[in-house]
Structures are given as structure tokens and as C-alpha cells.
Subunit: 317 residues, 2 copies
Amino acid sequence: MTSYSERLNAAIREKRTPALVGLDPRWDALPAEVRGRRPDGERGSYSDRAEAFREFCCRIIDVVAPLVPAVKPQAAFFEECGHWGAAALAHVIGHARQAGLIVICDAKRGDIGSTAEAYARAYLAGDKPEAAPWGADALTVNPYLGADTLQPFVSTAVARGAGIYVLVRTSNPGAGHFQDRRTEGEALFECVAQTVEELARGDATGDDFGPVGAVVGATYPEELAALRLQMPHVPLLIPGYGSQGGTAADVAGGFREDGLGAVVNSSRGIIFAYHRAPYEDRFPAKDWERAVEAATHDMIQDLADHTPAGALRRGCP
Amino acid sequence: MTSYSERLNAAIREKRTPALVGLDPRWDALPAEVRGRRPDGERGSYSDRAEAFREFCCRIIDVVAPLVPAVKPQAAFFEECGHWGAAALAHVIGHARQAGLIVICDAKRGDIGSTAEAYARAYLAGDKPEAAPWGADALTVNPYLGADTLQPFVSTAVARGAGIYVLVRTSNPGAGHFQDRRTEGEALFECVAQTVEELARGDATGDDFGPVGAVVGATYPEELAALRLQMPHVPLLIPGYGSQGGTAADVAGGFREDGLGAVVNSSRGIIFAYHRAPYEDRFPAKDWERAVEAATHDMIQDLADHTPAGALRRGCP
């Protein structure tokens, strides 16, 4: 069995970039072609929307699969379409894995004991996609319930060659409301980070990374750089680049010198590039896939130019 | 539109008990009859299991609907059966609402901004079950991401006459790992409680309760009693009674004097009573529904005898 960090790092090296494409389908932002030419205001049935989300995400996957190591579908938007959306999410995950992509399912699950085990078995397939109904490589997990509730996720991840990303420092404006509360000088998110590092270290494999990662927002660059040092065995998932305001310079501190250690997510900035500057002027709406491709190339170049991830390109043609 | 707290309190008064039945279907614990007479070790396909979970939960609902005000399906066990399980969960929620029960979907969701809105729209139907694909009255929510990420849930809840229950003090052994961290003498869970009280107070309706509730475990009775006083406008959801070790005396502090203010959950202790003491000796496995009924009656009596919820029975025949 190949561990999650070995597979993730192999994919990052092969594609020579840590760019992660977030699959956040939103009905009102879909190209008219994919919406079945329904006007913006008309939402369609749950099954219509789920089918449109499935098609949209699979076509994005076909565009970005040669370019990036991983994609991150956001479960919430699929769940908004009921069980039709749940089936579409499973299909999208399967399509991405068949295309050779690492899939991080962003569902932010968390519960106690045997309930946490059920979530882990539902999402974490690791190196065998058929091992779970939603056959992802990795899952995002919420730590509020305590370290004992992370353990069932870690156990399943280790057993199946999967990974988890624990929320440490999120990218939203109010992230600090609870996460910054200090006890004897140490913030809550630093305490969570210490727990995550301890969980990751014990099962570290290739390149010294363990199966337990951390979500740390690009919107807090100082905390990101400090957390990279505090959690040397922890792969990072960095949201907040692009539409949320984080720049390549902001995420630079999330990497090791060799360019490993983090994946950087962009969702809207890539998948809805066709109606955002500067792409909306270059590509007509019907060419939305070309806008996705251009935005992905631009993000890859931006990260290579302004972060240690540029090291992944050195010595290559 | 009728608010969540008005509907919940009306149901509690009508049934004269705060007992909440948790629907946590686990394949290995299902009666053989429901498992299609498969032996314990044989798990069946995802769709076989989802269909068994659907049947099992609907039959429990038929037994307990005349006795209790509410049920709490646990999303994780359904999600473990993939999209078949997702469809079964929607069916179970619909069946419970048709039976006149309040439905609290225990999915512990949480995310930022528009993603939180998507989760809210997926689960919170309020007084119109058809308003959401999983048409629950209320949803459990995780606060780690910050107060700004609770607001989209509150807005949808208020607009639809639905409710949320924010995790404050969970019932697991390691709950205090992060929740007990103190800043200037105040624990993190007390800080979360203060936020929850502020969110609830602004929209308080019947009986002075707002649409924002709190999850507080029966396994920490002192904290429970203090939190009841700290959050006068917040309805409580108390897990941990029964199988997890909490007693009726432990949950007594969660109520107001009039018997309102909390619902107390039991899952395994009721739904799998047929193979637990003292019911396994009284009911053969084929009579598992009679064991569910007996265990429900016993829980109702226990809460009436040892908590302020006994006030709900006074003056009644």
C-alpha cells in the first residue's frame, strides 16, 4: 500500500506544482450551456442541478487533470441538491481519480467514537477508490470535539493509505473568534496544531510527511509561516488564495525549501474564470473551458514565481 | 410562520416529555429480520444496507411517534452507505415529519460564508418540510470556524422557522481537550456558550427561547447546570444519557423549573434495546419493536421522576 503523502508528493512532483483546483459548483455561476440554457433566476429541480454540477465538474477535471496534482470538491454544494447531489459528488470523485488526480473531499466532518468511524469509512478510500462509497484520497475534518475524535479518522486513513486535513486556522474574516483565544500565551489554533503534529509524526512516511494534514488559510500569512515550522510532518491545505484575497507571496511561508509541504487551493478564481477579470474579455462564455485552462496556467506560474514551489520546476525542460 | 422553539415546545408539552430518540442505524446491531436474515458478518451492498436502515428507522418512528416529541437521525451512518444512504436519510426524515415528529438532523456541519449557506439550505426546512432536500426542523452545527460562520445558519433558520444546535460541550471522554482551554478563567466552551446565547436572544419567540440551541453532554452534569443558567434563551440538546453513562439525575440541571429548555437523547439504549439488559430477557428478537416501546416508556418515566421535566406531567390525567 502506498501512503497518502507518498502519492500526494509524487503527484506534486509529476505536475511540478502545488496548485489545487476547488470544485465549488454554484448554480447561478454556471455557464448557460451547462445550465441547459435556463435563465439565471430559474433553478431547476434538484436532479437537474445535480446533473449540471456533475457535468460541469467532470469537464473541469478533464481540463485540469494534465496540469495539477489534485482537486477539492466541496460537499456542501452537492448536498444542497439532496441525494441526487450526493450521487453526483461520488461520480465526480470517481471521474477525478480515473483521471489520475488526488481527490481531497472538503466536507469538514467530525463526530465522536463510532460515529467518526462511520464518516471515515464513508469518505476515505486511500489508494483503492472502491474502498469507500465516496472514494476520496483525503477528507477535511473539524477538531472542536477533541483529539480523541480525530483518532478514528487517523486509524482509517493509515489503514487505507488515505489522509485527513484538520482545520487549524481557517481563512474567513472571523476565524480568530475562537481560534485566537490564548491560554498562557498560546492560541487555540496553535494547540490544535500541536495535536495535529503529534498525530502526523507517528505515521510519517515518504518525504517525512504523515497522513494528518492541516487547513491553514492564505489570509493569515504570518500564522501560516509559523505553523509550517511548528508542524514539520504535516502537509498543509491552504485555502483563501485568489478570490478570498490571498496572494502567492502570502502562501510562500507554507512550503518547505524543496517546494513540498503544501497544496494551494483556488476555486471560483479558476472554475468561474470565464466571467471574471482578466479572462472574461479574452474568452466568450461558450469557451469557458479555455478560461479554466488559462486561469490554471496563470496560478501555476504565479506560485512558481513567488513561492518555494518554483523549486519543483528547476532542472526541468 | 411558526418558529422552531414554538413548535418544539408545543411538541414537548403535547407528549409531556423531553425524551429524544436518536436514530443511529448500525448494520451489525440490526435485528436479523431487518438485515434480510444475513448473518452478522455479511454486510450486503450499500443499497441493501441503506434499504435496511430506512426500514429499521421508519419502523422505530412508527413505534415512538405517539410517545416522544422528536427524533435525531445521525447522518454519518447513512452516509456510510453512499448516495443510497443519503436517499434513505431523506426518506426517514420525511417519514418522521409526516408522523408529526420534530426532526433534528445530527450532521455537525460547519463551513465559511456561502458554503455554510449551502449546508443551511440543504438541511433546514423549518415548518415547511419541502423547503429543503433533507427537510429537517433543526441541524447540529460546529462552531470552530468562528461566529461569522454560524450567521448563515441562523439567517436561514430564522427565515424558515428552523433551528440549529451549536456544539458547546460534547459528551465524549476527550471533550475537554480543546473545549476546556481557559483564557482569563473562562473556558473555550463558555465563550462559545456566550456567543450562542447572544445569537439566540435576538430572535427569541415563544417561551423566551431562540432558534439557536446548544449541544451539551449529559456526561458533564456540573457544566450542564451552569450552562443552563448562562444561556437562558438557548434550547439544549443533551446527548450522553443511557449507553454513554449519563443518568436522569445528571441531566436534571439542563431544564428550567417548568420542564422546558432541553431535549435528552438516547440512541442505542432505545433502538437496540432488544439485545440489551433488561429488555433482551423480556422480548425475543422478533419483538424488537416492543423492546423499543418499553425502553422509550422507561426513559420517559426516568426523566419525569428525576428531572424538572416531571412538571410537564402535573395536572394531567
